[in-house]
């Protein structure tokens, strides 16, 4: 396991509507994660909240807009804004995605799939190198949810991520929900995918809910919408992972149909209970 500076405990993806509850919670949530792009304004409430969070909790900054998989060069303007945010708040960890979301000057606001081949490995490797150089730190790269297979994909995703980590020295953010969603959508066995995953490079885990949607061909597609409670299948995979790795910093994400703080906190508490059980078993 990669040590990334976050406590090996369960926290949440931060939603501003929960700010007052998080601050007032008798037992402070041990870690919070923010989406970098929501804090790239100059001032105002977002930064006031972030200052308070940074003082009281371990902070993870999670980028969703750098587009590490885009052809051509990385967007240095955006990377500069990310670097400025990290300089300002000194988070315990910074992460991004194995995906693309920008075509030239157009930003597409979704994490789009990449073919896993040598060309993509070189390109994403170069971009992760650049990101780590500019941020002067190791970053974690997250496995995506995908909905379509790509013609040129030749390397299984776990192998691709292992090669990316070996090439760049980056850590990995294992999104267990994404792993499940992609496995179901592409007909892979999730447990086998997990066994192949380079767990020794994982520095953080994500948990989230997904939606089941009918596809036009009469099948069902799982959509990673962060809009509901963590699915039982994902909890089962999470228990498998941490049984192998021991406790890992874990973030529960719930970004749409955002529930009350009590509901989200209960999800984090459930994740914490699993981490605690593993820790006790390891200590015994």
């Amino acid at each position: 396991m990669v040590i990334c500076g976050l406590p090996a405990a369960a926290g949440v993806g931060f939603r501003p509507e929960h700010f007052a509850d998080i601050v007032a919670a008798p037992r402070p949530i041990p870690l919070v994660e923010i989406h970098a792009e929501n804090y790239m304004g100059a001032g105002g409430t977002p930064h006031r909240m972030l200052r308070t969070l940074r003082e009281r909790h371990a902070l993870s900054i999670h980028g969703v807009g750098l587009s590490l998989g885009s052809a051509g060069t990385l967007d240095d303007t955006h990377l500069g804004r990310l670097a400025a945010l990290c300089d300002r708040y000194q988070p315990a960890v910074v992460s991004e995605h194995l995906a693309w979301c920008r075509d030239g000057g157009t930003f597409l606001a979704d994490l789009l799939p990449l073919p896993y081949d040598e060309a993509t490995l070189h390109r994403v490797g170069d971009h992760v190198d650049r990101m780590q150089t500019v941020l002067r730190r190791m970053v974690l790269i997250e496995n995506p949810s995908t909905y379509v297979g790509l013609r040129d994909s030749a390397i299984p995703e776990p192998e691709f991520l292992a090669a990316l980590a070996a090439r760049t020295g980056c850590g990995l953010l294992l999104d267990v929900n994404n792993l499940h969603v992609s496995a179901v959508n592409h007909g892979f066995d999730a447990a086998a995918r997990l066994s192949a995953f380079p767990l020794e490079r994982v520095g953080e885990i994500h948990l989230a809910g997904h939606a089941r949607v009918a596809d036009p061909a009469g099948g069902t597609v799982l959509v990673d919408d962060h809009g509901s409670a963590v699915d039982e299948a994902v909890w089962a995979l999470f228990r498998d992972v941490v049984a192998r790795t021991g406790p890992v910093p874990t973030v529960v994400e719930w970004d749409n149909e955002v529930p009350s703080w009590a509901v989200l906190e209960a999800e984090a508490t459930a994740a914490q209970a699993i981490l605690d059980r593993v820790a006790r078993r390891r200590a015994a």
Binding site: E37, N38, A71, D103, L108, D110, A119, Y147, L150
Partner: protein, 254 residues
């Protein structure tokens, strides 16, 4: 997936008439539509968050359709979502199905200004005492630095009234006096303020913002109903002034 493939893939996301890109291995299952929906519906939702009163006025179905057309025609240029939508008010102006709602573009401008103010730099307003201590004959030459969050909007329609009725706990009632309204938007501290300016107030503020002295700005804004003392009191009272200087070489702050 080279630059050309990504460009094709991106174009197909935004254009439902284009086929599934050839890079997709299993086009027959229709799942490329998930990405199309994520992009267009996701961005339309981002706009609804940014323009909630516009959405309330036209209804969520109309808004989603209008936003969908906008998103396809003007996709974002930046990954920072709160910077997306500056072209939306102008687009509404040219969107034929909304042509009957002549006030709608200005309501959207008000909402855009609120969002900009929300994220603007933090700067402390000037101590009002600095202004009251100035000699009266210094006032015409006074140059006023306005808060970085500030915007002023002049409309032919009662946009503050309409906006307030369609925001938060507001209640929509018939508007008895359909009159032009000028609006000041500013965030001196935590909360974004939306206040009515006197007629000419927006022109007055615009001239101050380009570093014209107070006397010249007042003369430029003069029109029936313009109230200089009232406009100044509003700027001071809302914390819209961050610095003043009486001649180009000296600047007095709180």
């Amino acid at each position: 997936m080279d630059a050309m493939s990504q460009a094709r893939f991106a174009a197909a996301l935004l254009d439902p008439d284009m086929g599934v890109p050839e890079e997709v291995a299993t086009p027959e299952n229709g799942r490329f539509a998930v990405y199309r929906n994520n992009v267009v519906a996701g961005l339309a939702t981002a706009l609804a968050t940014r323009f909630p009163a516009v959405e309330t006025i036209v209804g969520s179905e109309f808004f989603a359709a209008m936003a969908g057309v906008f998103v396809r025609r003007h996709p974002p240029r930046s990954p920072v979502m709160h910077e997306y939508g500056d072209a939306f008010p102008g687009f509404i102006e040219t969107f034929p199905p909304a042509a009957g709602l002549t006030f709608l573009p200005d309501v959207a401008r008000l909402e855009w200004a609120r969002g900009v103010a929300y994220h603007a730099a933090d700067t402390a307003p000037i101590d009002p005492g600095v202004l009251t201590r100035l000699a009266p004959d210094a006032l015409p030459g006074l140059r006023i630095a306005l808060h970085p969050s500030l915007a002023a909007i002049a409309s032919d329609h009662p946009i503050r009234t309409i906006w307030a009725m369609n925001s938060g706990d507001g209640e929509a009632t018939p508007i008895e006096r359909w009159e032009p309204e000028e609006v000041l938007v500013v965030r001196p501290h935590e909360d974004v303020l939306v206040r009515l300016l006197p007629p000419g107030g927006a022109a007055f503020v615009a001239m101050l913002a380009t570093d014209r002295p107070l006397g010249e700005a007042a003369a430029g804004a003069a029109r029936p109903g313009f109230d200089l003392a009232g406009a100044l009191a509003l700027l001071i009272g809302t914390g819209s002034i961050v610095a003043v200087r009486t001649d180009p070489s000296s600047e007095e702050r709180s």
